[in-house]
């Protein structure tokens, strides 16, 4: 069984391969024309319990999925073990998140703005939540004027995260009236949270 996924951009080759896996096809080959697709197919194979053989054919790659009844069906057991580990890590609580910016990283602000929305989306759905999320400087724009992030912060607050927002910073940016979620806080409380945490994460 050969699937020609050349000329297809990510994530199409992975979807095409996944369709075969869903049909319980044990052995098949996917033809792709870029290294990223090869990497993604490798990860897919690993997560589904298939072995992979990759060959370069000129400018293209041939990625063969090789599964056997036991390994492929056995992978679901592996999945549940991973879920078990994640469940055990529910709300460790001994870390805090410090947001001094309203983007992730340095670089293009539009990309950084998208990344921060995706980060809070993912964090709010996960099982390992920070004890507190601290917002300072540009970071205070997130709980005040970034509607998507506000929605995720509301979920995080409901799940027990303390959300502290620097009052000095809100005042500086004239955002005090627009704060939608969190407690207006001060340097003493924020410093205490940082000092008391085993780990402080900044983005």
């Amino acid at each position: 069984m050969k699937i020609d996924a050349r000329g297809q951009n990510c994530p199409i080759p992975v979807i095409m391969a996944n369709k075969e896996i869903e049909k319980d096809t044990l052995t098949f080959t996917v033809l792709v024309d870029n290294a990223i697709a090869v990497e993604n197919l490798n990860r897919l194979a690993q997560s589904k319990g298939y072995k992979v053989e990759t060959k370069e054919i000129g400018a293209d790659f041939s990625v063969s999925f090789i599964g056997d009844e036991n390994s492929v069906h056995g992978s679901s057991t592996g999945d549940s073990e991973i879920v078990g580990t994640a469940a055990a890590a529910v709300h460790t609580g001994n870390w805090v998140l410090f947001m001094g910016k309203d983007v992730i990283g340095a670089g293009d602000p539009v990309l950084g703005g998208n990344l921060i929305k995706m980060y809070f989306y993912t964090l709010s759905q996960g099982d390992c939540l920070p004890e507190a999320i601290l917002f300072m400087n540009d970071g205070v724009k997130l709980p005040s004027v970034n509607d998507q992030v506000v929605a995720h912060l509301k979920v995080l607050a409901e799940r027990g995260c303390d959300i502290l927002v620097c009052g000095t910073c809100l005042d500086f940016y004239k955002l005090t009236e627009q704060l939608q979620i969190g407690t207006i806080s001060n340097m003493y409380d924020i410093t205490e949270k940082i000092n008391g945490a085993a780990k402080v994460v900044t983005l």
Binding site: N9, C10, P11, I12, V14, I15, I36, E39, N40, R43, L44, S47, V83, V110, L111, N114, K117, M118, Y121, T122, Q148, A151
Partner: protein
């Protein structure tokens, strides 16, 4: 729970489409589900009641059909089941 997701062939298409759709529908930016792709970035999520607005928005947005893909996502018992919708659903 059922919701819809649009994935993109590249980050620039995702960002520009997002800006456009924000003007006509209620959407959420999310990372592309691992069940769909291990590596490719930004997706747009929306509720079933926003589908008409999003489809209308996509129609007025000149993005080539091969640059994006629409999925219906079903979440059941903590598991995610993506189902790719055909191009016909978009017209």
């Amino acid at each position: 729970m059922i919701y819809y997701v649009i994935t993109f062939a590249n980050t620039h298409s995702a960002i520009s489409t997002q800006s456009h759709l924000e003007t006509c529908a209620k959407i959420t930016i999310m990372p592309t589900l691992r069940e769909i792709s291990a590596g490719c970035g930004i997706s747009i999520r929306f509720a079933p009641e926003e589908l008409d607005h999003v489809l209308a928005g996509l129609k007025t947005w000149n993005l080539a059909a091969e640059m994006y893909q629409l999925y219906e996502i079903t979440e059941k018992d903590g598991k995610i089941f993506p189902s790719q919708l055909s191009d016909k659903a978009l017209t």
